[in-house]
Amino acid sequence: MITDIVQQLLNGVLVGSTYALIGIGFTLIWGFMRRFNVAYGATAIGAAFLGLAAHRAAPSLPLVVPFLVAMAGGAILGYAVDLVSFRYLPKDYELAPLMSTLGVLFLVEEAINHTTEGRPQDFPALIQTSLHTGQLFGTGPYFVRGDYVVVFVLSVGVVAGLYWVLFRTRLGLALRATAQQPVAAQLVGISPIRSDAQAFMLTGALAGAAGMLLSMGVGTATAELATSYTVRGLTVAVIGGLGSIPGAIVGGLVIGVIEFEALGFLGIGYRDIFAYLALFAVLVVRPQGLLGRRVG
């Protein structure tokens, strides 16, 4: 019993770290612009497919190359989302970007579907081994997936890099200034249009990294994962507290652990029930999220 609880905890933490990676993208855009970018999951999957295309074009190159292509593709897609769904839409209508990014989500999904003819695509494994030699390691009765550990470590690295950009560079300073005091930022010469574009490119690159890591972790991907990741990412961001990066990390881990414990002990029919009960509980007890700031 205890063994099972611990095993599911390990699985939940590792998979939860991938949820956190998606949740961070949602929370960042909210933090910068106070808007939901529902196309974030689509950016992640779209970028992952660009990474896959690069891998197929040059399979002998190390996996870091498609990973970087996915990040670059994500940055371009993120910029496109800014252009299409935010920059030219009236600022007074908060729902306009929400609906517009929803449209981009479906557009990207269908574009991938048309390109792949709806067929699941085989992604390269993060840890290359021959089949059935096992990619697990652990101690005693516990085991963890090697590639999830790699995803976890890379996720930590990506988040550390993000923190470095946000708190140790002029770009991060400009982004934070625009988010906190847009008028004052303009007065000191920071262009809000440029800042928004940079925010979308930064989160897009993050989406590319997340999409590629997640798809390589699963080993197979389809366009429909975009919607699935969107729902998960929003849930994680809301539970953690919109605008809070540590909140998204905690939210991802909480959802991951709840899902895996419910799946392990009650079965697939209860997994989502408990995950969304947790969301409702947080919204009722602490509407600003676990680590979010109370507004007003």
């Binding site: 252009l83 030219y88 709806g118 699941p120 997936r145």
Partner: protein, 426 residues
Amino acid sequence: MRGIRRRFVLMIGVLALVLAACGEGGGDGNGPEAAPKAPAAGKETLKIGGLWAMTGIGQSFGKNASAVFQMAIDEINAQGGVELADGRKLPLEGMVYDEGCPSPEPGIAATRKAAGDPVVIMLGPNCSSVAEPVFGILQKTLDDPNDTGLQLPFFTDGAIKAGLAKISPWAFRNVPSEAEMYGVLFQHLKDTTSYKTVGLGTEIDFAHSKSTADNAIKPAAEKAGFTLVADEGWKLTDTDFSTQASKIREAKPDVVVTASHPFTTCGFLKELGRQGFAPKALVALTSSLTAETIEGCPKEAEGMIGPSSFAPVNPEAAAVADKVAKEYSGFVDIHSAPVYENLMLLKDLFKSAGVEGRPDTVAQDRRRIRDQLEKTTEFKGLLGTIKFHHELGGEVEKPWLVSQVKGGKFVLQWVPPQFEAVIEKS
């Protein structure tokens, strides 16, 4: 300001190009798509509809079905078209509608649209989750003036969930019985191997997978004497299968059965591989014996077996599969092969049904086709004779075999004794 305007115009232009590119070959959910090689505009045609998944998660099924549809129509038209009651010959024209699988709403909307178009019969849909509600809006009682259901015949090729054609007398299906197929397959495994236990993984939120697991696979395995030692579930868009795979691995079943579609089948098989578990036999859902599975997880699917009512095992079946692959970019499988079989039956049925093929006789022609289908007792399939069982409500009994993935291709693994005579091995 001018710069912003210029960029805005550029952005709209790019968006329009993207939309145009995506719209190519895609449906809008309701309206029919022009068939790629439609007869010249203005030329009189007999229109046949196809309701398939042209977008969304099931679009690979729809694209295969529409490729076979167009291939069969071209073949019929190359022979002069179809003969009608008055002796005239008309070319066929295909009108493809998007069913939007797995959501039922687009399929219902497209069916209502098709009912207003001059199509005399519909083929499809692909998905059982669409077929069930679509058949639900068809007329339930013939000649009942109070029954305002649509009077549009459907001759389904894909939706395979048991019993769907019973919903309406306007629904007919050319799909095999999965209960029968898995019953025979598990008995064969029991008779020819020492395997005793089964571990089952089911995609619980997809009508076909869940229904087949509960009503065909589990009863068949238990009836054959297998013990179900693990029964795990997952959802259609799940990406992690570690818990389910580890429970199945711990139960050490001889046979692992996946009642799921290609995406999650591949994810689950990859996880089983990561956990180092290789079952003695791997049995798949009929819908996973497709090109998508081989493309999604070629190594992990190696050795997988499953029942299928199509394989290119005779010259005609091989020729159809080859032509569709080379000239129409499609894949002929258990779901798309019936499109060809159905059209070949219809080609010869229009004249005997009394179809007039005029714009003002569409409603009568639909009824005539329905009535003639009900009178049809058997027709030729790609693997042998297909028999209608109208007492079961428009269902058929058709030959099938067991396919296996070998070297990234499907090969014939076993033919049930009752079909050995009809399936010509090549």
